[in-house]
Symmetry: C2
Subunit: 431 residues, 2 copies
């Protein structure tokens, strides 16, 4: 059988991993598939840049268009990073009839609607298992295995860098800055970790999962995203005392009247929930379907080998799609439910930490402000042994809308007895 020609756009960590692992396990893959892959061209920005994996010099080019004009290339694999150049490349690839495999979560989250519209128009499949949760096959599971389910919720720990930092802060009591520094030294955080830290890497992944679960693309500007850079060792310690772990959690769930909520933020998770035990650089996704019930998918969320494992599974799908085009259009639709739930209408429990003057009447004033807003208090802890001008006061708050809670916190922040800015975090009870 004729080998299936592949064009690799990008030869960074994942691109080089795909090349390496296709070579290492090529015989096994072709035994299983009945077809062999052959990388025909590799496009890179800089030919002189040292490569971590060896490949014949003749494969390399700096001209992306060469991948599209080569008729022996049936599948292009976009692993470049960035948005504008990949977007233009993917558009051209679809128009040229090349099957697209990409691991670019930012590209899909920002331009998924356009890309999949174009793909449908040209009847060209686009695969993206590597875009979410590295080696965990969550795209396939959500798209295919849950085809008979309404999704009640999806909760994910989707960013390994953040999870590593929070795990270290939890285990050692260290603060955010030294934990980030450690993550950089170990290669778990990039030189510029902005998107990992500010929650947007996880948010891109959450938007992709939401599009599969609910059949439409949410506007990134409308979802609630908050990173871990403001998380303090004190909050992790208080959460622990209350029976919770603090995680950067992506929550995707169906609200009333087909409104879909997507939020990514530091969230208190009960220690008894299995997501609370997902530590270090690992990722996990908990899926609740109306008939499948609760499931959890756990694994390596990043790294050369796990991510290239997902790319290779997409290549296998792509190879099948060459001969069986219908398959690629099954199992997903982009005109189902339909609107983004406004952040202020989302309902959750909360953790509220205040710095207050240590004098009588303070709790009454705060409870009063919450009570006026119709917001109930679940429990209060005033940690002992604290000294200084102000003392911490931690409140666990009943289910309330984020809008009501936000306004109440603004009022509380304005009280005379409250010092500093209040810390407000979501609490997920998985009810």
């Amino acid at each position: 059988m004729e080998p299936i020609g592949i064009g690799l756009a990008g030869f960074g960590t994942v691109g080089a991993g795909v090349y390496k692992n296709l070579a290492t396990n090529g015989d096994l893959i072709s035994q299983r598939m009945g077809a062999r892959f052959e990388v025909r061209k590799v496009a890179v920005r800089d030919l002189s840049k040292p490569r971590s994996v060896e490949a014949p010099e003749a494969l390399f080019t700096t001209n992306l268009d060469e991948l599209l004009s080569d008729p022996s290339i049936r599948i292009v694999v976009e692993l470049m990073g960035g948005i504008e150049i990949p977007l233009e490349f993917v558009r051209k690839a679809i128009r040229a009839g090349k099957i697209v495999v990409t691991g670019n979560k930012a590209l899909l989250a920002e331009h998924g609607q356009e890309i999949f519209h174009l793909a449908r128009e040209h009847r060209v499949p686009v695969f993206y298992e590597a875009a979410v949760a590295g080696g965990i096959p969550i795209i396939k599971v959500v798209r295919e295995s849950y085809v008979g389910n309404r999704f009640l919720s999806i909760h994910g720990i989707l960013n390994g860098t953040s999870n590593y930092i929070l795990t270290r802060m939890t285990d050692t009591g260290m603060d955010f800055a030294p934990a980030l520094e450690e993550a950089k030294q170990l290669g778990y955080a990039e030189a510029d970790p902005t998107l990992d830290i500010n929650g947007w890497d996880a948010a891109h992944k959450a938007l992709i999962l939401a599009s599969l679960a609910y059949g439409f693309w949410l506007d990134p500007d409308q979802i609630f995203v908050s990173g871990i850079d403001q998380v303090t060792a004190a909050d992790i310690r208080f959460a622990d005392e209350l029976g919770y772990r603090l995680k950067l959690l992506a929550t995707i769930q169906a609200g009333p009247e087909n409104a879909i909520e997507v939020r990514v933020c530091p969230t208190l998770i009960p220690k008894s929930h299995v997501l609370a035990s997902v530590n270090g650089v690992f990722n996990a996704v908990a899926v609740k379907g109306d008939i499948a019930g609760d499931s959890l998918f756990y694994g390596r969320g990043a790294g050369q080998d796990p991510t290239s494992s997902s790319v290779i599974s997409d290549l296998a799908e792509a190879a099948a799609a060459i001969e069986s085009p219908r398959f690629c259009y099954g199992f997903t639709s982009h005109d189902l439910y339909g609107k983004c739930q406004p952040v202020d209408e989302s309902i959750s429990r909360y953790y509220l930490r205040l710095a207050v003057n240590d004098r009588p009447g303070v709790l009454a004033a705060i409870a009063g402000a919450l009570g006026e807003a119709g917001i109930g208090i679940l429990s209060v802890i005033q940690p002992e042994g604290q000294e200084g001008d102000s003392v911490p006061l931690v409140l666990m708050i009943h289910d309330a809308s984020y809008g009501a809670m936000r306004k109440a916190v603004e009022r509380i922040a304005g009280l005379d007895c409250v010092r500093d800015q209040p810390v407000l975090l979501h609490v997920e009870s998985f009810s």
Copy 2:
């Protein structure tokens, strides 16, 4: 678009669940798939038996052949239970060109080789997501998502009944018999729980996973299977003291020279491993691929709704396969590695509990017998506060072949100082 006709063979718990959930979520499924399923006939053994889910009387028949002779039925779903009748039905269905969906693990484990040979010959796909681990999509994951990986190992908690019983024994200290009784009362164990208790239900599932991972069917007679009926509260307690949980664990792994080991037996798992936290009726499968690394898949391993969720995902695959037949033959092969590792050659750590006379020299005699066989001792506990003719002695044993260990235990059982039959259990260190 013309609806896709389905014939249901069996209307027990799962069959009725498929009917119910296709009705409940039918609109959603057809939105996602672009195709609608319609159950055209339901074959049952006894028309007068009360049904848990309502369906039009006209659908029902006692004649399985009616499902095969109806040209409007494209897919047959075999959920009857038993082996001989389903085998004959599946053979006829394949010959009649009907796509087969089955949840029958015993059928596949015993006759998979014949069935898939016949299926390949007639180019008819056979799907079986519901046969292993209920609502967990482990078949799809192993078959498709890991297509680029060599499987280093698969470890599974694959029987919810056993896991419920062991969980209750662990949590309460109760013995096997009352825990089984409780499981029956709660509907977690059937009236005849033989296959759950003796390990063979899990073994059938393990054989199916092994066939996907290594590409050939192992002979059920050659694998090591041991159930939980001999597990005592004492062993669970000693395991706990040593830092382990006792689980009915299926181990599937590649040994030297392409020999594949499949064993299912009560196994000590370190408490720190995530499988040790899989409790109650839940199932979980830990997969180690050479490039994907460690992953875990967790969910409901049985029950009407979770299992029918898996059947429905197979129906979606089947519907895609009607138009795209090639796909069904990708991602798996049945002539890869190739032989079953003889049980006696498998290497593991062990837990050995003896009842011994409480007098000097006993440990020396036992250690001597192990030493002569070249078997090392990791640690020894002689629990305090025991009274009576004999006292327990628990040894943790270094990696040794099962054959050598078995012989050494036979010799130890013959020592004067040893009372009762020794208890030998596997220990999985996940190294």
